[in-house]
């Protein structure tokens, strides 16, 4: 079974540009989460989708960040315009709704975003 995949693995952009990160969850996982880790800090929650609906977006830092999950499959996270402090590693995770321990989240390898 394929794990959570993220694209690109690394993105370098200039301040003010737009970047779109993509996450493909494990097939059949209705829960999709975005987290990020900025330099020297802990991994922090950004938001949570259940299928195509935003369940919790309390961690989104500001309105420059827009997450979508059309059709309840893959998700995109757009940063527009990017600022220097947005640099970090963005992780996506997915989990099933039911069965086993429901909140076991499987993480992707992350997208390393560098804003110059």
């Amino acid at each position: 079974e394929a794990g959570v995949t993220q694209f690109p693995s690394h993105s370098v952009i200039e301040k003010g540009q737009t970047v779109t990160l993509r996450c493909d969850p494990i097939s059949g996982h209705d829960n999709l989460y975005w987290y990020r880790r900025v330099m020297g800090k802990e991994i922090k929650f950004l938001l949570h989708f259940v299928k195509e609906s935003k369940q919790d977006e309390s961690g989104m830092p500001n309105n420059r960040f827009l997450a979508e999950r059309t059709g309840g499959t893959y998700s995109t996270l757009k940063v527009q315009p990017a600022e220097l402090e947005d640099s970090g590693v963005y992780f996506c995770a997915s989990s099933q709704i039911a069965g086993g321990w429901v909140n076991e989240q499987f993480f992707g390898p992350g997208t390393r975003l560098t804003v110059l």
Partner: protein
């Protein structure tokens, strides 16, 4: 104050040693306590989880939770070079697929052959 505090290390021990990793937390509402392992350039991978207080053992790994002290630990016995990674403690609130995870900052562990 951070919700979860974790010594970032780095921690370097010889192969075969017992490793003790620890975290403290401030929110008494946490119910699930997890340890993730993260190798370089990879995403975090769930190693163990514990519900509420108590101990849980899985092979060379033992997780302990003391809710009265708001303190959790991970012990690794007979440590191997392949255990070299960053270990993240993590917590969540309830038995719900909506629970976000709160992470510690991670402890970088190196096992010397």
């Amino acid at each position: 104050q951070k919700e979860v505090e974790q010594d970032p290390g780095p921690l370097s021990v010889p192969e075969g040693a017992i490793v003790s990793l620890n975290c403290t937390y401030s929110n008494s509402a946490f119910q699930y306590f997890m340890w993730y392992r993260q190798y370089s350039r990879k995403g975090p991978e769930l190693l163990m989880y514990t519900y509420s207080s108590g101990n849980k053992e899985d092979g060379r790994f033992t997780a302990q939770v003391d809710k009265s002290s708001k303190y959790i630990s991970l012990f690794i016995r007979d440590s191997q070079p392949s255990d070299s990674a960053t270990y993240l403690c993590a917590m969540s609130w309830g038995y719900s697929s909506a629970s976000k995870i709160i992470f510690g900052s991670g402890t970088r562990l190196s096992i010397r052959p």
